[in-house]
């Protein structure tokens, strides 16, 4: 694996048991992503995008082959190391935002830093920086139910970015947003990608997202059918 390679998969296969047989969600995937890429797994529902993201995020294991993320083999990773990998190096953004309803915006963004056992002063600075990146410094005391969908997703981005991870995995981040909010959060992520050199990998079939991607990996029935760099 080259030094700036952040993700590398080797003949990655994922099967799920169904009835007496199994369903192949991913089949012989060979991919390489470099640090700082702004890439997306694009394809229709059931093409294996989310499964791929879950394996790369060490939330699931491959059935065959392997995925190497930040020099860590996902196939042989244990639960403890997987949680360390996610805690320190990977940020997640979900379609449904998944903010903690009883926490304020500040507390939601602060949460990953609590897991890293940072001091209160360091946490406060990092959270305020992250909220500034997404333009939500005026909402730090708000609860998720007081936010619009766009604002909620921006909080989710801030939460994913606050620990400055090397890799952010975003699963359909605009699926619950209108066009304007989608563009806003994509511009935010694009800016963070450029300024912090964070690698972003999306799972999407939303054209609005696709327009922003610099690399598009098309999946169909669990196979990579096309992988293209986009010239802007």
């Amino acid at each position: 694996m080259e030094n700036n390679t952040i993700i590398k998969t080797d003949n990655l296969v994922k099967r799920f048991p169904i009835g007496g047989g199994h369903f192949t969600a991913l089949e012989d995937i060979n991919l390489e992503l470099n640090t700082g890429e702004f890439a997306g797994l694009v394809g229709p529902s059931g093409s294996g995008k989310t499964t791929m993201l879950n394996i790369l995020g060490s939330l699931d294991n491959p059935s065959e082959g392997d995925a190497n993320v930040l020099n860590t083999s996902i196939k042989s990773i244990g639960a403890r190391r997987a949680s360390q990998l996610r805690k320190k190096h990977i940020g997640f953004i979900f379609q449904t935002f998944n903010l903690m309803p009883v926490y304020t915006v500040f507390e939601n963004v602060e949460f990953p830093l609590l897991l890293l056992k940072m001091s209160a002063a360091e946490r406060r600075k990092a959270v305020l920086d992250a909220l500034e990146w997404v333009g939500l410094t005026d909402k730090i005391k708000s609860k998720p139910k007081q936010l619009s969908g766009g604002e909620s997703q921006r909080v989710a981005i801030a939460r994913a970015m606050v620990k400055k991870p090397e890799l952010v995995l975003a699963d359909e981040p605009t699926a619950n947003l209108d066009a304007e909010n989608s563009h806003n959060i994509l511009r935010t992520m694009e800016k963070l990608n450029e300024e912090l050199n964070t690698t972003f990998l999306f799972a999407t079939h939303d054209d609005k997202v696709i327009k922003y991607l610099k690399r598009i990996i098309y999946l169909e029935d669990g196979k990579v059918v096309r992988d293209e760099q986009v010239k802007k």
């Binding site: 879950n54 939330l59 990998l85 805690k87 320190k88 449904t96 998944n98 009883v102 926490y103 609590l114």
Partner: protein, 390 residues
């Protein structure tokens, strides 16, 4: 620390649901302490009362005497041992002669136990000074329950019939010179007290007694022919057995109360784990281990117990202290229960009782919080993140 911090945030965030659970648990907690306090208070009071009014520091019984078999009374008497004469003069031992008799209040017939006791005794609390004869009439005293049952008052005459040592019937009128109020029904119900010498003369059992109550341990365990010493352990055996059986009933109530409160917490935890599966999935995605997540939920559940201690202390301590001051008044007719009960029961709280209750409530809350939280280990985080687990 992180678990506690998150648990507090989640509990505060859950608002009314948390308050209701905490309040219910605090009610269970205070009621458990209160109930135990009353039981302990009652036990303590009952033991003190029976010692003061009936048992003294032990009793010598005639070898034939069985308090539960009135047919033994006829043969259960012997001369009062000379060794106890000095103490008898001081009033620190009280010989009692017991015989079966019948009284005829208002023309009715009622079987009683006629007891003769030294009017100058200082061993038990019965006001025997009212048995000192001042005229022709034979003075008698009754407990208030007995007086109520036979509708007798001070100054009334009571016809009594008994058998003497030879089995001959005789009868006499006794004058009621005093009534006494006691929490110990076994010196009251169905009993008439007269002076020992009067009864000895009436029965022809001069200088004889059925039992001898002692005031201090210096007269205990003496080797006296025909007399068997009953120490307090033996005398209180029945009461201790009753306390034991009360404790079992009490423990059942205790368990029911606790189970109701814990069921509410268990239910909340189960509901929480399914309702908050997205949160659990997100915790795991952000790098928490499953064990940490289980820890958060277990601590969160257990915090209910901690908060309930605080809430319980806020409203429970003033209530428990007030009850300690005023006691719990007994209902009308309580004195006919046949149990040594006062007008009110004063609860007795002990640090041990409170600590045991705290530990039991906290540990059981932790267990019922942990049990549903274990389900988290079986969750697929991908499904949990999407809220797909049914």
């Amino acid at each position: 620390m992180l678990s506690i911090k998150l648990a507090i945030k989640n509990l505060l965030g859950a608002g009314l649901r948390t308050f209701l659970n905490v309040f219910i648990l605090s009610v269970a907690f205070v009621v458990i302490i209160m109930q135990n306090g009353f039981i302990q208070g009652w036990n303590k009071q009952a033991k003190v009362d029976v010692v003061e009014w009936q048992y003294g520091q032990g009793q010598y019984w005639h070898e034939n005497y069985d308090p539960y078999d009135p047919f033994t009374f006829q043969d259960a008497h012997a001369t009062i041992p000379e060794k106890l004469n000095a103490a008898r003069q001081e009033g620190t031992v009280a010989p009692i002669l017991v015989t079966q008799a019948t009284v005829y209040p208002e023309g009715r017939l009622k079987s009683i136990v006629l007891k003769g006791i030294d009017p100058h005794q200082k061993t038990i609390s019965i006001p025997t000074e009212k048995l000192v004869r001042e005229g022709e009439d034979v003075p008698a005293i009754l407990g208030s329950r007995m007086a109520m049952n036979i509708k007798a008052n001070v100054g009334d005459y009571l016809l009594v019939r008994w058998r003497d040592a030879n089995g001959m019937f005789d009868a006499k009128e006794l004058k009621i010179t005093g009534l006494f109020r006691t929490d110990v029904p076994t010196v009251d119900l169905g009993q008439v007290w007269i002076a020992l010498e009067e009864l000895q003369q009436m029965t022809g059992l001069d200088n004889e007694a059925t039992m001898i109550v002692i005031k201090d341990q210096s007269h205990a365990e003496m080797d006296l022919a025909s007399w068997e010493f009953q120490d307090l352990d033996e005398l209180l055996y029945d009461m201790n057995q009753m306390i034991k059986s009360k404790s079992v009933g009490n423990a059942i109530m205790y368990l029911i109360l606790l189970a109701l409160a814990l069921l509410a917490i268990f239910d909340t935890q189960v509901l929480s784990i399914f309702r908050r599966q997205k949160e659990i999935g997100t915790f795991i995605a952000m790098g928490m281990t499953r064990r940490q997540v289980i820890g958060v939920f277990t601590v969160e559940g257990t915090m209910h117990a901690v908060l309930s201690l605080i809430v319980g202390a806020i409203w429970g301590i003033p209530l428990l202290l007030q009850l300690k001051k005023t006691g719990l008044p007994m209902p009308e007719g309580y004195d006919q229960f046949g149990l040594p009960l006062g007008d009110s029961i004063i609860p007795a709280y002990s640090l041990g009782l409170v600590l045991i209750s705290v530990v039991i409530v906290t540990v059981t809350t932790a267990i019922v919080s942990y049990l549903p939280a274990r389900k988290i280990t079986k969750m697929n985080p991908n499904d949990a993140i999407r809220g797909k687990i049914q």
